[in-house]
């Protein structure tokens, strides 16, 4: 069984950490990740940049619309995520639009730039199919 672990916190509080506090926190997290990685149980890890840098592609029955800011709609739930390489926001939006077309119904994709990315590979377990 694989689990996605989604991290929530007050981004304003996190942004007010000093560099030393942030570095210390990252070092402690790296230790925890390292222990899991040693067991072959660590998958990709991403730290996201603030919600102010987010763009949302909102789907509707008739098409999709690009809006500023993070996706905040409590009646829909976080169902998964992708990490892709895109030179520009437009390229990322084009990818999200393709996803939107491939995926039936309504919903939204939030596009957030990534701050840190560790592409560990899980070797233990059978994994999700």
């Amino acid at each position: 069984m694989q689990y996605a672990i989604l991290c929530y916190n007050d981004e304003n509080a996190v942004a007010s950490w000093t560099k030393e506090e942030d570095d210390a926190c990252m070092a402690r997290l790296a230790k925890v990740q390292g222990d899991m990685a040693a067991k072959g149980k660590m998958g990709p890890v991403a730290r996201l940049l603030p919600t102010t840098s987010a763009t949302t592609l909102r789907k509707s029955a008739t098409g999709s619309m690009v809006i500023d800011g993070p996706f905040a709609e409590t009646k829909e739930q976080f169902l998964g995520f992708y990490v892709v390489e895109a030179d520009t926001l437009d390229e990322a939006i084009a990818f999200a639009k393709d996803l939107a077309v491939a995926n039936p119904g309504i919903g939204a994709y939030e596009l957030r730039p990534v701050s840190l990315f560790f592409p560990h590979t899980i070797t233990a377990g059978s994994g999700a199919t």
Binding site: N12, A13, A24, P50, T88
Partner: protein, 422 residues
């Protein structure tokens, strides 16, 4: 991070919202600040045992409001209380409190708090000091260090600035759309000044460099409140993209390293990623503004992994747009640097020739001009320009940098020995 450090970070993050909401209740800056201080003290006493509240900001406003009212009652001075309707609901449950703190209120509260710091009667450095103290909560001693003055002097400066504000009518009515836009523009400029104060001196002074972090923090906050304002996106991006280069801007001896020569692997990649995303977001709106264009210029540098990969023609084009939005000889001078790279030094020299009178006392004008003359092989004229630049330098580091150009002039064999003797 210890528990107490976590609480410190939570209080710092809550400060702008909490103080600005308390200001709306008490309509007096000192009372609002004291009420927030009192709420923080109670938070430090109770949060470690009880755990942090679900909504720390609502908690701080609620507790601060009660303690502020107590303080006013105890003082027994003839202080006019705020209108009854603002005080009547003091016993309300916290849930109701949180409900009242909707986004619309936060927006105008924080904008108001930032806006009163930008009072036109206050000189720019007092506006900056006030915003750092009141909105960002930076300790006075730290602001004093950043501005290279004694703490008592900074204390007096802030007290005087507050008195100036108190004497004026603070606009408490919710602003209409036009007034809100004007406030936003004024506040954006003040935040840009905070950033520049840090950026212009930060390479030599870590205390000043912290101003950049505070400016970015406040601009991100403003962007949370106004998430669809392309100029605020542009301002935030501009700060992030410039600040991303900070680790590479000075060498081990404290000497300035120019953009061309910087080790780009030292640039902060997360800041660049955030900045580029914001520039792209802003430009999609199709309403260019000065911050957006400046950010787009910074983005061109950020996208070039090596200095030789810089798209100077694109930068020249962006400066031309900026010249239209915000005509200024300094912008033309900056464009000349891009022109020299894309079309050669002669074209750049022709571009800045008409600026000679306006920028005669400007360090960078003579520095750029000297560099262009040197590229054209006119060592004698370059030497005069460089000497003029040294005389106008704003810091020893600037002067030292130009001196390296002067030394380089003497080094290679000159094509015409008589030219050097003139």
């Amino acid at each position: 991070m210890t528990d107490n450090a976590w609480i410190g970070a939570a209080l710092a993050a809550a400060r702008p919202q909490a103080v600005s909401a308390l200001l709306r209740y008490f309509r007096q800056l000192d009372t609002a600040e004291e009420a927030f201080q009192e709420a923080c003290l109670r938070a430090i006493r109770t949060w470690p045992d009880k755990g942090p509240p679900r909504d720390p900001i609502a908690w701080l406003i609620f507790v601060g409001r009660n303690s502020g009212v107590d303080a006013i009652r105890k003082s027994r001075r003839n202080v006019a209380l705020p209108p009854e309707d603002l005080l009547s609901d003091l016993d309300d449950a916290e849930a109701d409190m949180a409900e009242r703190l909707d986004g619309e209120h936060y927006r105008d509260d924080i904008l108001r708090l930032l806006f009163i710091c930008c009072h036109p009667d206050l000189p720019a450095n007092q506006q900056i000091a006030l915003a750092l103290r009141i909105v960002a909560g930076v300790p006075t001693a730290q602001i004093a260090r950043a501005f290279l003055v004694r703490e008592t002097a900074m204390e007096q400066r802030i007290t005087r600035a507050k008195a100036r504000i108190a004497a004026n009518d603070t606009p408490f009515d919710p602003p209409d759309a036009v007034a809100r836009q004007e406030r936003l523009g004024t506040v954006a400029l003040m935040l840009y000044l905070v950033f520049n104060e840090g950026y212009s001196r930060g390479h030599a002074d870590p205390a000043a460099a912290q101003l950049c972090d505070e400016a970015i923090r406040l601009t991100r906050l403003l962007l949370q409140l106004f998430p669809a304002e392309p100029e605020i996106m542009g301002l935030c991006a501009l700060m992030l993209l410039q600040h991303s280069r900070s680790p590479a801007r000075t060498d081990a001896n404290g000497q300035i390293v120019l953009l061309d020569a910087q080790d780009r692997t030292m640039w902060s990649r997360p800041m660049i990623a955030e900045g580029l995303a914001l520039v792209d977001k802003a430009l999609r709106h199709g309403t260019p503004g000065a911050y957006q264009v400046q950010a787009a210029i910074a983005a061109q540098h950020a996208r070039a992994l090596r200095a030789e990969g810089t798209d100077w023609a694109a930068i020249d084009h962006l400066y031309q747009i900026l010249e239209v939005i915000q005509p200024s000889p300094v912008i033309t001078l900056n464009r000349a640097v891009a022109v020299s790279k894309s079309r050669g030094p002669a074209a750049a020299l022709a571009l800045i020739a008409p600026l000679a009178d306006q920028l005669d006392n400007y360090f960078h004008f003579h520095g750029v001009r000297g560099g262009l003359l040197r590229q054209l092989g006119n060592a004698a004229a370059a030497r005069i320009a460089f000497n003029r630049a040294i005389a106008l330098a704003n810091s020893p580091a600037e002067a030292a940098h130009i001196r390296t150009h002067l030394d380089a002039l003497s080094a290679p064999a000159l094509p015409d020995p008589t030219a050097a003797a003139k």
